[in-house]
Protein backbone atom coordinates (compact mmCIF):
# COMPACT_ATOMS: atom_id res chain seq x y z
CA UNK A 1 0.00 0.00 0.00
CA UNK A 2 1.33 3.39 -0.96
CA UNK A 3 1.06 5.90 1.86
CA UNK A 4 1.73 9.16 0.08
CA UNK A 5 -0.33 12.11 -1.09
CA UNK A 6 -0.05 15.38 -2.94
CA UNK A 7 -1.11 18.38 -0.89
CA UNK A 8 -1.03 22.10 -0.43
CA UNK A 9 0.57 24.08 2.39
CA UNK A 10 -2.13 26.26 3.96
CA UNK A 11 -0.14 28.06 6.65
CA UNK A 12 1.25 27.88 10.15
CA UNK A 13 -0.43 28.41 13.50
CA UNK A 14 -0.37 27.12 17.07
CA UNK A 15 -2.69 24.64 18.74
CA UNK A 16 -3.00 23.24 22.25
CA UNK A 17 -2.24 19.54 22.62
CA UNK A 18 -3.95 17.24 25.10
CA UNK A 19 -1.47 18.18 27.86
CA UNK A 20 -2.33 21.86 27.38
CA UNK A 21 1.05 22.63 25.81
CA UNK A 22 1.16 24.89 22.78
CA UNK A 23 2.45 23.20 19.62
CA UNK A 24 3.61 25.00 16.45
CA UNK A 25 1.87 23.34 13.51
CA UNK A 26 1.69 23.63 9.74
CA UNK A 27 -1.77 23.12 8.30
CA UNK A 28 -1.77 21.07 5.09
CA UNK A 29 -4.59 20.33 2.72
CA UNK A 30 -3.71 16.74 1.77
CA UNK A 31 -5.50 15.24 -1.19
CA UNK A 32 -7.93 13.90 -2.20
CA UNK A 33 -5.84 12.52 -5.04
CA UNK A 34 -7.00 10.55 -8.06
CA UNK A 35 -5.11 7.63 -9.55
CA UNK A 36 -4.25 8.66 -13.10
CA UNK A 37 -1.88 5.89 -14.12
CA UNK A 38 -0.63 2.55 -12.84
CA UNK A 39 2.81 1.21 -13.57
CA UNK A 40 3.83 -2.40 -13.09
CA UNK A 41 6.94 -4.50 -13.10
CA UNK A 42 6.27 -6.30 -16.40
CA UNK A 43 5.87 -3.29 -18.66
CA UNK A 44 7.61 -0.47 -16.76
CA UNK A 45 10.17 -2.25 -14.61
CA UNK A 46 8.72 -1.07 -11.31
CA UNK A 47 5.42 -0.75 -9.44
CA UNK A 48 4.06 2.76 -9.00
CA UNK A 49 0.94 4.88 -8.91
CA UNK A 50 0.66 8.22 -10.62
CA UNK A 51 -1.57 10.49 -8.55
CA UNK A 52 -3.20 13.72 -9.65
CA UNK A 53 -4.27 16.68 -7.52
CA UNK A 54 -6.14 19.94 -8.03
CA UNK A 55 -8.60 20.55 -10.85
CA UNK A 56 -7.28 22.22 -13.99
CA UNK A 57 -9.00 23.83 -16.95
CA UNK A 58 -8.57 21.55 -19.94
CA UNK A 59 -7.31 24.32 -22.27
CA UNK A 60 -4.36 24.93 -19.94
CA UNK A 61 -2.97 21.43 -20.47
CA UNK A 62 -1.15 20.26 -23.56
CA UNK A 63 -2.58 17.47 -25.64
CA UNK A 64 -0.39 14.57 -24.46
CA UNK A 65 -1.21 15.31 -20.79
CA UNK A 66 -4.88 15.95 -21.50
CA UNK A 67 -5.03 12.61 -23.33
CA UNK A 68 -4.21 10.80 -20.07
CA UNK A 69 -7.46 12.12 -18.59
CA UNK A 70 -9.79 11.86 -21.57
CA UNK A 71 -8.68 8.26 -22.17
CA UNK A 72 -9.97 7.23 -18.72
CA UNK A 73 -12.85 9.75 -18.45
CA UNK A 74 -11.21 11.70 -15.63
CA UNK A 75 -11.42 15.42 -14.90
CA UNK A 76 -8.15 17.17 -15.84
CA UNK A 77 -5.79 17.70 -12.91
CA UNK A 78 -3.06 20.25 -12.31
CA UNK A 79 -0.37 18.28 -10.51
CA UNK A 80 0.80 14.79 -11.44
CA UNK A 81 3.29 12.85 -9.33
CA UNK A 82 4.41 9.26 -9.33
CA UNK A 83 4.78 7.33 -6.07
CA UNK A 84 6.57 3.99 -6.07
CA UNK A 85 5.42 1.06 -3.98
CA UNK A 86 4.09 -2.45 -4.17
CA UNK A 87 0.69 -3.92 -3.19
CA UNK A 88 -1.27 -1.80 -5.60
CA UNK A 89 -3.28 -4.59 -7.22
CA UNK A 90 -6.66 -3.60 -5.78
CA UNK A 91 -6.29 0.04 -6.77
CA UNK A 92 -7.77 1.00 -10.14
CA UNK A 93 -7.31 4.02 -12.36
CA UNK A 94 -9.82 6.69 -11.33
CA UNK A 95 -9.85 5.67 -7.66
CA UNK A 96 -9.72 8.43 -5.09
CA UNK A 97 -7.06 8.28 -2.39
CA UNK A 98 -7.78 10.55 0.55
CA UNK A 99 -6.26 11.52 3.87
CA UNK A 100 -7.64 8.43 5.66
CA UNK A 101 -4.54 6.44 4.57
CA UNK A 102 -2.62 8.46 7.19
CA UNK A 103 -4.98 7.54 10.03
CA UNK A 104 -2.56 5.07 11.68
CA UNK A 105 0.58 7.06 10.84
CA UNK A 106 2.46 8.96 13.57
CA UNK A 107 4.99 10.90 11.52
CA UNK A 108 5.44 12.04 7.93
CA UNK A 109 8.20 13.30 5.66
CA UNK A 110 7.40 16.21 3.38
CA UNK A 111 9.01 17.29 0.11
CA UNK A 112 8.52 20.70 -1.47
CA UNK A 113 10.17 23.58 -3.29
CA UNK A 114 11.70 26.11 -0.89
CA UNK A 115 11.12 29.87 -1.10
CA UNK A 116 13.40 31.58 -3.60
CA UNK A 117 15.97 33.88 -1.97
CA UNK A 118 17.59 35.30 -5.13
CA UNK A 119 21.33 35.89 -5.49
CA UNK A 120 22.83 35.68 -2.01
CA UNK A 121 26.30 36.12 -0.54
CA UNK A 122 28.26 33.51 1.38
CA UNK A 123 27.14 34.68 4.83
CA UNK A 124 23.46 33.94 4.17
CA UNK A 125 23.97 31.10 1.68
CA UNK A 126 26.64 29.08 3.45
CA UNK A 127 26.74 30.52 6.96
CA UNK A 128 30.22 32.08 6.72
CA UNK A 129 31.11 34.14 9.76
CA UNK A 130 32.08 37.33 7.96
CA UNK A 131 34.39 39.90 9.47
CA UNK A 132 34.06 42.60 12.09
CA UNK A 133 31.79 45.50 11.17
CA UNK A 134 33.82 48.11 13.05
CA UNK A 135 37.30 48.78 14.46
CA UNK A 136 38.69 49.47 10.97
CA UNK A 137 38.06 45.90 9.91
CA UNK A 138 37.71 46.52 6.13
CA UNK A 139 36.48 42.92 5.78
CA UNK A 140 32.73 42.55 6.22
CA UNK A 141 30.74 39.93 4.29
CA UNK A 142 33.16 38.99 1.49
CA UNK A 143 34.02 35.31 0.88
CA UNK A 144 37.79 35.76 1.46
CA UNK A 145 40.46 33.67 -0.17
CA UNK A 146 39.29 31.00 -2.62
CA UNK A 147 42.63 29.21 -3.02
CA UNK A 148 46.40 29.51 -3.50
CA UNK A 149 48.51 30.76 -6.40
CA UNK A 150 50.95 28.64 -8.42
CA UNK A 151 49.88 25.42 -6.75
CA UNK A 152 47.10 24.33 -7.30
CA UNK A 153 46.68 27.23 -9.73
CA UNK A 154 42.94 26.66 -9.95
CA UNK A 155 39.79 27.04 -7.90
CA UNK A 156 38.54 23.68 -6.66
CA UNK A 157 35.14 22.53 -7.83
CA UNK A 158 32.32 22.76 -5.33
CA UNK A 159 33.87 25.67 -3.42
CA UNK A 160 31.18 27.54 -1.50
CA UNK A 161 30.58 30.86 -3.22
CA UNK A 162 27.79 33.42 -3.68
CA UNK A 163 24.94 32.48 -5.99
CA UNK A 164 21.29 31.72 -6.38
CA UNK A 165 19.67 30.43 -3.20
CA UNK A 166 16.35 28.75 -2.49
CA UNK A 167 13.74 27.59 -5.00
CA UNK A 168 15.19 24.10 -4.70
CA UNK A 169 13.70 20.76 -3.74
CA UNK A 170 13.91 20.06 -0.05
CA UNK A 171 12.63 17.25 2.16
CA UNK A 172 11.92 17.55 5.86
CA UNK A 173 12.07 14.16 7.55
CA UNK A 174 10.00 12.81 10.41
CA UNK A 175 7.51 15.54 11.18
CA UNK A 176 5.11 14.53 13.92
CA UNK A 177 1.52 14.19 12.77
CA UNK A 178 -0.44 16.08 15.42
CA UNK A 179 -3.98 15.83 14.12
CA UNK A 180 -6.00 14.73 11.09
CA UNK A 181 -9.24 16.37 10.06
CA UNK A 182 -10.76 13.86 7.63
CA UNK A 183 -13.81 15.96 6.84
CA UNK A 184 -11.86 18.89 5.47
CA UNK A 185 -8.84 16.86 4.30
CA UNK A 186 -6.62 18.81 6.68
CA UNK A 187 -3.47 17.55 8.33
CA UNK A 188 -1.65 19.24 11.22
CA UNK A 189 2.09 18.62 11.24
CA UNK A 190 4.44 19.79 13.98
CA UNK A 191 7.07 22.17 12.65
CA UNK A 192 7.79 23.93 9.38
CA UNK A 193 7.40 22.69 5.82
CA UNK A 194 9.35 23.90 2.74
CA UNK A 195 7.94 26.70 0.63
CA UNK A 196 5.43 29.50 0.88
CA UNK A 197 1.73 29.12 1.64
CA UNK A 198 -0.26 27.48 -1.18
CA UNK A 199 2.89 25.61 -2.22
CA UNK A 200 2.39 22.12 -3.65
CA UNK A 201 4.00 19.52 -1.38
CA UNK A 202 4.38 15.75 -1.39
CA UNK A 203 3.58 13.94 1.84
CA UNK A 204 5.01 10.51 2.65
CA UNK A 205 4.37 8.35 5.70
CA UNK A 206 7.66 8.03 7.57
CA UNK A 207 9.23 5.08 9.37
CA UNK A 208 11.11 5.35 12.63
CA UNK A 209 14.18 7.00 11.12
CA UNK A 210 12.05 9.39 9.08
CA UNK A 211 12.62 7.77 5.70
CA UNK A 212 9.79 7.53 3.25
CA UNK A 213 7.90 4.33 3.94
CA UNK A 214 6.93 3.43 0.38
CA UNK A 215 10.47 3.18 -0.96
Amino acid sequence: MIKALIGKKIGMTQIFDKDGMIVPVTVIKAGPCIVVEKKNKQTDGYDALQLGYGEAKSFRLNKPVLGKFTKNNLTPLKVLKEFRGSEIDEIKIGDTIDISIFNDVTSVSITGITKGKGYQGVVKRWGFGGGKDTHGSMFHRAPGSIGQSSYPSKVFKGLRMPGHMGMSKNTVLNLKLVKIDGEQNLMYVKGAVPGANNNIIYIYAADKSGRKLNK
Binding site: I15, F16, G20, V27, L186
Partner: protein
Amino acid sequence: MNIVEKIENSSLRTDVPQFKSGDTVKVYQKIKEGDKERIQVYEGVVIARKGSGIRSAFTVRKNSYGVGVEKTFLINSPLIDKIELLYKGKVRRAKLYYLRKKKGKEAKIERLDMVQQQ
Protein backbone atom coordinates in the same frame (compact mmCIF):
# COMPACT_ATOMS: atom_id res chain seq x y z
CA MET B 1 -12.27 33.70 6.77
CA ASN B 2 -9.32 31.56 5.81
CA ILE B 3 -8.65 28.08 7.16
CA VAL B 4 -5.92 29.08 9.62
CA GLU B 5 -8.13 31.75 11.18
CA LYS B 6 -10.95 29.24 11.51
CA ILE B 7 -8.69 26.79 13.32
CA GLU B 8 -7.49 29.50 15.69
CA ASN B 9 -10.98 30.79 16.41
CA SER B 10 -12.25 27.29 17.15
CA SER B 11 -9.97 26.95 20.19
CA LEU B 12 -10.68 30.40 21.65
CA ARG B 13 -12.31 30.43 25.08
CA THR B 14 -15.59 32.21 25.57
CA ASP B 15 -15.74 32.10 29.37
CA VAL B 16 -13.00 34.68 30.00
CA PRO B 17 -14.15 37.95 31.59
CA GLN B 18 -13.09 41.26 30.06
CA PHE B 19 -10.14 42.65 31.97
CA LYS B 20 -7.17 44.88 31.33
CA SER B 21 -4.00 46.13 32.97
CA GLY B 22 -4.46 47.29 36.54
CA ASP B 23 -7.32 44.89 37.27
CA THR B 24 -7.04 42.36 40.07
CA VAL B 25 -7.77 38.81 38.97
CA LYS B 26 -7.85 35.32 40.39
CA VAL B 27 -6.47 32.62 38.11
CA TYR B 28 -7.49 29.01 38.78
CA GLN B 29 -4.67 26.96 37.34
CA LYS B 30 -4.79 23.21 36.74
CA ILE B 31 -1.66 21.48 37.97
CA LYS B 32 -0.83 17.88 37.14
CA GLU B 33 1.15 15.84 39.65
CA GLY B 34 1.71 12.33 38.39
CA ASP B 35 -1.78 11.17 37.49
CA LYS B 36 -3.51 13.49 39.96
CA GLU B 37 -4.77 16.92 39.06
CA ARG B 38 -5.40 19.79 41.44
CA ILE B 39 -6.26 23.45 41.14
CA GLN B 40 -4.01 26.23 42.35
CA VAL B 41 -5.32 29.75 42.79
CA TYR B 42 -3.09 32.67 41.91
CA GLU B 43 -4.29 36.17 42.71
CA GLY B 44 -2.69 39.45 41.70
CA VAL B 45 -2.66 42.55 39.55
CA VAL B 46 -2.59 42.27 35.75
CA ILE B 47 0.43 44.28 34.64
CA ALA B 48 0.38 43.46 30.92
CA ARG B 49 -1.73 41.97 28.18
CA LYS B 50 0.05 40.79 25.08
CA GLY B 51 -0.78 39.35 21.67
CA SER B 52 -4.10 38.64 20.05
CA GLY B 53 -6.28 35.68 19.21
CA ILE B 54 -5.03 32.32 20.33
CA ARG B 55 -1.58 33.73 21.19
CA SER B 56 -2.91 36.32 23.65
CA ALA B 57 -1.34 36.24 27.10
CA PHE B 58 -1.39 38.25 30.30
CA THR B 59 1.02 38.76 33.18
CA VAL B 60 -0.11 38.78 36.81
CA ARG B 61 2.07 40.29 39.55
CA LYS B 62 1.67 39.75 43.23
CA ASN B 63 3.61 40.19 46.44
CA SER B 64 4.24 36.86 48.07
CA TYR B 65 5.64 37.25 51.62
CA GLY B 66 7.68 40.29 50.61
CA VAL B 67 8.88 38.82 47.33
CA GLY B 68 7.48 40.07 44.04
CA VAL B 69 6.21 37.22 41.85
CA GLU B 70 5.10 37.41 38.22
CA LYS B 71 3.37 34.71 36.21
CA THR B 72 2.45 34.83 32.55
CA PHE B 73 -0.56 32.84 31.33
CA LEU B 74 -1.96 32.11 27.90
CA ILE B 75 -5.56 33.24 28.06
CA ASN B 76 -6.87 30.38 25.91
CA SER B 77 -4.82 27.66 27.56
CA PRO B 78 -6.79 24.58 28.64
CA LEU B 79 -4.54 24.51 31.73
CA ILE B 80 -6.48 27.45 33.12
CA ASP B 81 -9.66 26.31 34.81
CA LYS B 82 -11.17 29.77 35.08
CA ILE B 83 -10.29 33.43 35.45
CA GLU B 84 -12.15 35.56 37.96
CA LEU B 85 -12.17 39.35 37.83
CA LEU B 86 -12.10 40.80 41.37
CA TYR B 87 -11.54 44.55 41.04
CA LYS B 88 -11.14 47.09 38.29
CA GLY B 89 -8.03 49.25 38.70
CA LYS B 90 -7.47 52.92 37.92
CA VAL B 91 -4.34 53.10 35.76
CA ARG B 92 -3.14 55.30 32.92
CA ARG B 93 -0.82 52.84 31.18
CA ALA B 94 -1.24 49.58 29.28
CA LYS B 95 1.95 48.07 30.68
CA LEU B 96 2.55 48.49 34.43
CA TYR B 97 6.20 47.44 34.52
CA TYR B 98 6.93 50.43 36.76
CA LEU B 99 5.34 48.49 39.62
CA ARG B 100 8.49 46.35 39.80
CA LYS B 101 10.46 49.27 41.21
CA LYS B 102 7.80 50.41 43.66
CA LYS B 103 7.50 49.25 47.24
CA GLY B 104 4.77 49.22 49.83
CA LYS B 105 2.02 51.78 49.37
CA GLU B 106 3.51 53.07 46.11
CA ALA B 107 3.00 49.65 44.53
CA LYS B 108 -0.70 49.76 45.22
CA ILE B 109 -3.20 50.42 42.49
CA GLU B 110 -6.29 52.45 43.19
CA ARG B 111 -9.40 50.35 42.80
CA LEU B 112 -12.28 51.73 40.79
CA ASP B 113 -15.17 49.65 42.01
CA MET B 114 -15.91 46.19 43.28
CA VAL B 115 -17.02 43.74 40.66
CA GLN B 116 -19.89 41.64 41.84
CA GLN B 117 -19.14 37.98 41.33
CA GLN B 118 -21.31 34.98 42.21
